[in-house]
Amino acid sequence: MSLRDWFENRRNKQLNADLVESKISGDDLLKLWEKCYNCNTSIPQKELEQNMHVCPKCDYHFRIGARERLEQLLDEDSFEEINSNMLPSDPLDFVDTMRYKTRQVDARKKTNLNEAVVTGIGKISDWEVAVAVMDFAYMGGSMGSVVGEKITRLIEEGIKRKIPIIAVTSSGGARMQESCLSLMQMAKTSCAVARANEQKILYITVLTEPTFGGVTASFGTLGDIIIAEQGARIGFAGRRVIEQTIRQKLPSDFQTAEYLLKYGHVDMVFHRSGLKSTLEKLIRIHAPAKQKVNT
């Protein structure tokens, strides 16, 4: 299925669901405009979309979903999703203020995604790549067994095909509802990266708003090249946890992409509009001369 078909399918599903469940109200009309979290400007949805979901006034980068990200990064119609049908289980029968199973259903409904990561093979300016994109909207982009397994399989696929692997992260950390099984996904994905290293397969990570905890402490920061998106907050421990521990206020730029650059943790920080061309350059520079796909 092509990228476009895939999106169309999802959009239609969404659309149908919307039609069944609601009528157009004043609220819906408001949704045609979006307010910038940073500068408070109201921006027409359309314009925001054309501007890659970046505020045209202040450059604030809106959080975007896996779908938008793939559309922005990949050549048109080049995406073939893999392991799209993998679904989360509930091995611990976990209940907090809500059943884990219920959370899964809700997240699926809300995002139209089966889990917090979409993986597949696509092309960036004709270079074939294995790409994973996380979606924060699905349970905070948390990593449970499915995310870990899909990331691992994607890396394995990249190694098999000898093509660059790109992981775009957005995650609050490990999925607590799967407890230690989630923790082990950190080991599993990192072991996969170890294999990519040994096979000299280029692995690039793109850290986007927000990337924390178990993802920062595993495949997220293991890129041969690590790119952070402008303004993204990235860290191991959450701001609140740190404030509680050290009982002092944190600097306002703490854990921003720019802060991480200053402290030596990311190779570069990019505006969303420069990401695709940067990836293309990196792939070209690191590729043996004849790796480019014939177009």
Binding site: M176, A194, T216, F254
Partner: protein, 320 residues
């Protein structure tokens, strides 16, 4: 079991029975009345009761044992099971994090690299060891020692007891996430056997950063979890008071982890917990790691690596 410790809440009834036994003995010796049968009966009952109590502890109760102030620490075990221990200090880049300690030694004449998180007992020790919460530099010291062990074919034993990697400003600045991630990846590349044991608390990436190992064991009353029950409670229930509920739901006991096939075995503790008999716990630990290393002695570097990869590759439960 001696009454050397302040009883934990759930141990109070045991201590009461034992007080009663003492009273009977005293009465007997003071009055000359023979109460041997009664004492014996009560002692047996107490023993049965204890056995049952300690084998059916709730996760929260285990947590109390795992965090017991007198529970043997990494350095206690080192002194109990090794000879010729030589601590190797520093990350070679500006820090000797004391929350992670490593060094070489011999166990029954076999050379090994031992690395572990260290907790303190006194205030001074707690400050020195930062309550067993490593900074990124601690993980980098460990990594340096992993590479050293790899070069000289020293089996690596990591002993883990940590509430987690330290969450602080400097830790973020020097890369707590990256330091742990790099350890996960680099441990996967080592060509020497790695055996890990969770001694007490094994919390989150802070524990895993030393545990991408061929064999992972847990002490009977230790715990291994993606997040501390308190942290989980305050996030999911928005109340730290729900910690014991979180502890239940997280399935963090050694039995749970064995059932999930995340660990390879459980190391028995003396009745009541390791703090009641350090020598017993140390002997069990020593046997387990030596046997484990012995099992792997015939494996090549490549096989050891594959073994580790396959171990973690299997982990995870999902539907497709």
């Amino acid at each position: 079991m001696n009454k050397q410790f302040t009883p934990l809440e759930f141990e109070k009834s045991i201590y009461q029975i034992e007080d009663k036994i003492e009273e009977l003995k005293k009465l007997s010796s003071e009055t000359g009345i023979n109460l041997d049968d009664q004492v014996k009966l009560l002692t047996n009952q107490a023993f049965e009761f204890k056995k049952q109590l300690y084998s059916s502890l709730t996760p929260s109760q285990k947590l109390q044992i795992a965090r017991h102030a007198k529970r043997p620490t990494f350095l206690d075990y080192v002194s109990l099971i090794t000879t010729d221990w030589l601590e190797l200090h520093g990350d070679r880049a500006g820090t000797d994090d004391r929350a992670i300690i490593g060094g070489v030694a011999q166990i029954d004449g076999k050379s090994v690299m031992l690395i572990g998180t260290q907790k303190g007992r006194t205030t001074k020790e707690n400050i020195e060891y930062n309550f067993g919460m490593p900074q990124p530099e601690g993980y980098r010291k460990a990594l340096r020692l992993f590479y050293h062990a790899d070069r000289f074919n020293l089996p690596i034993i990591t002993l883990i007891d940590t509430p987690g990697a330290y969450p602080g400003i400097k830790a973020e600045q020097t890369g707590q996430g990256t330091a742990i991630a790099v350890n996960l990846r680099e441990m996967a590349k080592l060509e020497t056997p790695i055996v890990s044991v969770i001694l007490g608390e094994g919390c989150s990436g802070g524990a895993l950063g030393l545990a991408v190992s061929n064999r992972v064991y847990m002490f009977e009353h230790s715990l291994y979890t993606v997040i501390s029950p308190e942290g989980c409670a305050s996030i999911l229930w928005r109340s730290a008071d729900m910690a014991s509920t979180a502890a239940e739901n997280l399935k963090i006991t050694s039995d749970d982890l064995l059932q999930m096939e995340i660990i390879d075995g459980i190391i028995k503790e003396p009745l009541g917990g390791a703090h009641y008999d350090w020598d017993f716990a140390a002997a069990e630990l020593k046997n387990t790691v030596l046997e484990s290393i012995d099992e792997m002695s015939g494996m090549s570097g490549t096989e050891l690596k594959s073994d580790r990869h396959e171990k973690f590759r299997r982990m995870g439960v999902f539907i497709e």
